[in-house]
Every structure is written in C-alpha cells, then in structure tokens.
Subunit: 252 residues, 2 copies
C-alpha cells in the first residue's frame, strides 16, 4: 500500500510536470509565432511528444489557451494585491509598473490578437471582460491607496479615467508596435520598444504625483532618457509593416 501510494504520487508528479511543460512551451510559441500559426501538432513535435499524449492533457488548443489565461489572471491579480500591513509608498509604484510590464510581455499573445480570440474561443470571450473588470477594480484600490498616502493628488473621476487610459495603452502596446512596424512576430530583438510602455505609463501619471513619488518620477524620467520611438513613428520614410503572420493555416 505504501509503495502503491509512492508510485501514484510519482505518476501524478510526472503528469503535472508534462502539463506544465506543455503550457510553458505553448506560451513561448504563441508569443513568438502568433497563436494562429501554432497548432497542437507543432507543440507536441517541439516537445518530442505524440499528439495523443498531448491530447491526454488538453483536448484542443482552446483548452491550452484557457489554462494560460487563468494563469495570467491569477498571477496578475496576485501581483496587484495591496500590502495588508502598511500604507503604500513610492517604491510600490515602481514595483507595480515593473510587474505589469513583465506580465504583459510574458503573455503578450493574449492581447496581441484579442479580437480573434474573442471570436474563436468561448471561454476567452467570457473571461476577458471579467478579468479587465477585476484589474480595474484593483487599480482603483491601488490609486486610492496612493492618494491616501499623499503620493498622488487625484479626484475619483481622474482615477477612473486614468485606469481606463492605462488599460487601453498597456493592453494595446505590443499590438501598436506591430502595427507601426516596430515589432515582428519572428523578431524578439525589438524588446527595447516593449519597455517603452513604462515610459508611456510614467507620462500618464506624472501630472498627479506629489511628494516623494514626485522625486521618484523625475529620477525615473532621467534614467529613461530620451526616446527614439516618436521620431521613428513619425518619420516620413516610415517603411511598411511586415506581414505579421507567416502561416495562417489553422489545423489543430
């Protein structure tokens, strides 16, 4: 009985590990190649696994996407939690910026082609607006925390409008870079542009900062330096965007 339990535990661990490996590789491939051009067969092949073995864990691609979306939701809301034993300080502000930027980059495929996902994935269609709502509610608590701590000066309406603007800018940032020709699916070298999102967030908030966070802001602006992005965007010799999808076959 003892041995059987041990075997069962080991087998369960192996199953969990396989599931985790499938999720990790799927996330990587979706991000790098675009979700539409990656099939479950591609994923299985890259893992040196039979399609049957993959189907044992996920019946289809939408189930993988659903699970990744749940991970993303869970992690993001956890990262946006408020400290329960102290007031917010200026370092928290920088911290929230950084975790949000890295989350957006880590799961960029989810915001990349959101329209397609909503259209083709029933679960995603239900989860996405609920997730947006939860993040916005949490954002409201965070900003009220900053106002209470004397680090920002904003009315409730200004908080609401800022959160909506932040949500739109952040969730569309990589998409904006693709559309303006500053990022291609095949090219991860352009990551520098992604971090410009931080710069955009700083400017969205700047006017409302007070006290200690005001100084942090000035420091951050100096460390960010000047941006070539605008010059590149508005240059007349702006070249065309590469076709973002190399392979639009969608067999699963």
């Amino acid at each position: 009985m003892h041995e059987l339990n041990g075997y069962f535990r080991m087998s369960q661990t192996k199953t969990l590990k396989t599931k985790e490996r499938i999720l990790q590789l799927s996330l990587q491939l979706f991000n790098e190649r675009g979700e539409r051009s990656v099939t479950t067969n591609h994923i299985a092949a890259e893992l040196g696994m039979s399609p049957g073995n993959l189907y044992y864990h996920f019946r289809n691609k939408n189930e993988i996407i659903k699970e990744l979306m749940e991970q993303y939701q869970h992690q993001t809301l956890e990262m946006l939690a408020l400290p329960d034993d102290r007031a917010l300080d200026a370092n928290d502000k920088v911290h929230y910026f950084q975790v949000l930027s890295s989350q957006l980059w880590a799961y960029r495929f989810l915001h990349r082609d959101v329209y397609h996902l909503v259209e083709n994935n029933e679960d995603f269609r239900k989860m996405y607006p609920r997730f947006a709502g939860q993040v916005m509610q949490q954002g409201q608590k965070i900003y009220k925390g900053f106002v209470n701590a004397g680090l920002m000066d904003m009315t409730d309406s200004e908080i609401e409008a800022l959160i909506i603007n932040l949500w739109i800018v952040l969730t569309n940032w990589t998409n904006f870079l693709y559309m303006s020709g500053h990022l291609t699916d095949s090219n991860t070298l352009e990551e520098k542009w992604v971090w410009q999102a931080l710069r955009q967030m700083v400017f969205l908030e700047g006017a409302y900062l007070r006290g200690e966070s005001r100084q942090t802001y000035e420091g951050l602006l100096n460390s960010l330096g000047s941006s070539e992005l605008f010059a590149s965007l508005s240059s007349a010799k702006n070249t065309e965007v590469e076709s973002p999808i190399q392979n639009i076959s969608e067999t699963r």
Copy 2:
C-alpha cells in the same frame, strides 16, 4: 460634338455617383456588421445592382477598403490642418477633439479589426503606419502651437508621449468597448459610449492646460458630467461579450 460632350459629361457624372454610392454603402455595412462579414455580393444586393456592375468600379473588396482608407486619411489630415493666418485658441482645441471623434466613429471599421486588415490587405498594410506617422507629426505641430499660444505647458518629451497615448486610446476605443461588452456590431444604440472617448482625451490632456484652455477644460468636465462607464466596466456581474461576428463567411 457639343451634344456628345454633354453626353460624355453626364455619363461620367453617373459613374462618379455610382462609385460614391458603393463607397458610402460599403462604409455603412462595414461599420455596422463588421468588414469580415460583408461581401461585395451583399453590397451589390443592397444597392439593387448586379455584381458585374459593382466589379466595373471595384475589382474586389480590398479595392473598396483601400479607397475608403484614402478618403479617411485625406479627410483626417485636412481636419487636423493648422490655421495659417492666426495662432491657435482654446476653441480650436475643442474643435480638434470633435472632428477626431466623429472621424473615428465614421470610419470605425478601420480600427476595429486592424490586425485582420493588415494581414489580408497589402495596401492597408502599407498605408496604415504611414498614416499613423502623418497624424502624429501633425499632432506634434498642433501641440507646439498650443504651447506657443500659452494654452498648454509641456516639454517636447511630454508632447511626444501624449500623442502616442492619445493615438493608442483613440484608435482602440471602439475595440475596447467591444471587448468589454459595451458595444456590439449589431447595435448602434450604444453610441453614447463612443463619445466617452472625448472624456478620456480631456483627462489625458487636463494636467497640461493653462490660461483660457484651463477654463474651457473645467467647463467641459462639468458638461460631461459623471461617467457610468468605469462602474459598468469594473462591476463583478460584468456579463460576457457577445460574439462580435455573426457570420464569418468570407466569399467575395
């Protein structure tokens, strides 16, 4: 000869009119039903015209889209022109806001599913980043004009960051409403949410306003009143998004 010229002119006018009618109806259908679910056959049928007659003017749907994109570009850049005989004033600011909002609404299908258009339409893929660049350049001139007129106080970096944020918020606004369940293709009654874009723009700029434009801003905020959008977005009982496309057949 005189009569022949007359005939020729009349025939040319008729051709122009037919072309214009096709463009207008296409724009309406693309906006209302989503570009993907509208075929050239639908357009011809709605106009009581044979498909052959339509093909005489436009070889395929992409040619219609290209022409609409050109109209949109041309009109938008014209609306963003600076007065050449006087400095900018606070009324110009309100005016630019209004024309931009109405342009975005009038051609909303272009920003609605931009990823799909870039992917499937060679012309669009070339035109879109160039158009974005031109609008941003023009925006920069406008904001520098407001700074010179003492109506705003911004550094060059702040102008650049503001324009990028404005571009992203505005071009993704209707898409954001769809994704959060506040707009459906079939439902044009929700236009009130679209005008909330104005509110978001006002908040993006508010902190930089000075002098006369400061007063205009306060007045505008009062006239806009409070918004139910944030409450609706962040409510826990947020319902699911309706499938935005009822019919994804793409026969042409």
